[in-house]
Symmetry: C2
Amino acid sequence: MAVKTDLDPAIAARLKRNPDGLVAAIVRAHDSGDVLMLAWMDDEALHRTLTSGRATYWSRSRQEYWVKGATSGHFQYVKSVALDCDGDALLVTVEQVGAACHTGAPNCFFDELPVSTPAAFKPAEEL
Amino acid sequence: MAVKTDLDPAIAARLKRNPDGLVAAIVRAHDSGDVLMLAWMDDEALHRTLTSGRATYWSRSRQEYWVKGATSGHFQYVKSVALDCDGDALLVTVEQVGAACHTGAPNCFFDELPVSTPAAFKPAEEL
């Protein structure tokens, strides 16, 4: 992960990377606001995302840079990028071409888990 | 992190945890769809989130369970939870009481980074 990067040092100084040198990137659709996926960026992936127009991640499984859509055509055109308050997560807002998920689903979060809510903990307006 | 947990084994079997035993939890507002924050859950935090009605995380800094709002009053009432396609990220949709961010901001993603988009990479409809 010791790739030479042109990321603005002022931005790099605000990142709080995990032990693999990565920050989490939440990807959101510009039009619908839909949360599409979670991916990971090192400094250079963030630099490429901020300057190339295309969302670019670090693939942990392939250990290489990954321009989303490079093989599928499902590019993510970058609209905005925001860093969170403690510097370890990014919110990347994109114009998504086609399906965001490699399964063909519009987003990666289609496995709903069962939620049970005790009545005592519901907000007052719902009781 | 070897806490005994009552998380449904069928759900536990689908989780792909990081070396610390955690999965990322993207938190989204039920009403606005706003992406509020990124937090982390181990199996027991997920169990408590699915069954207590209140979003509960694992605090990496304090190394303890963290019922969001327990000290601030800014609870997150759980509406739905979805697991992503590869099992290492959750999307938690909540009714947020007050500010989600500890800074008092509505969400944690208020540090906008500068994005430059080469004209050649813009979607055709924008050229």
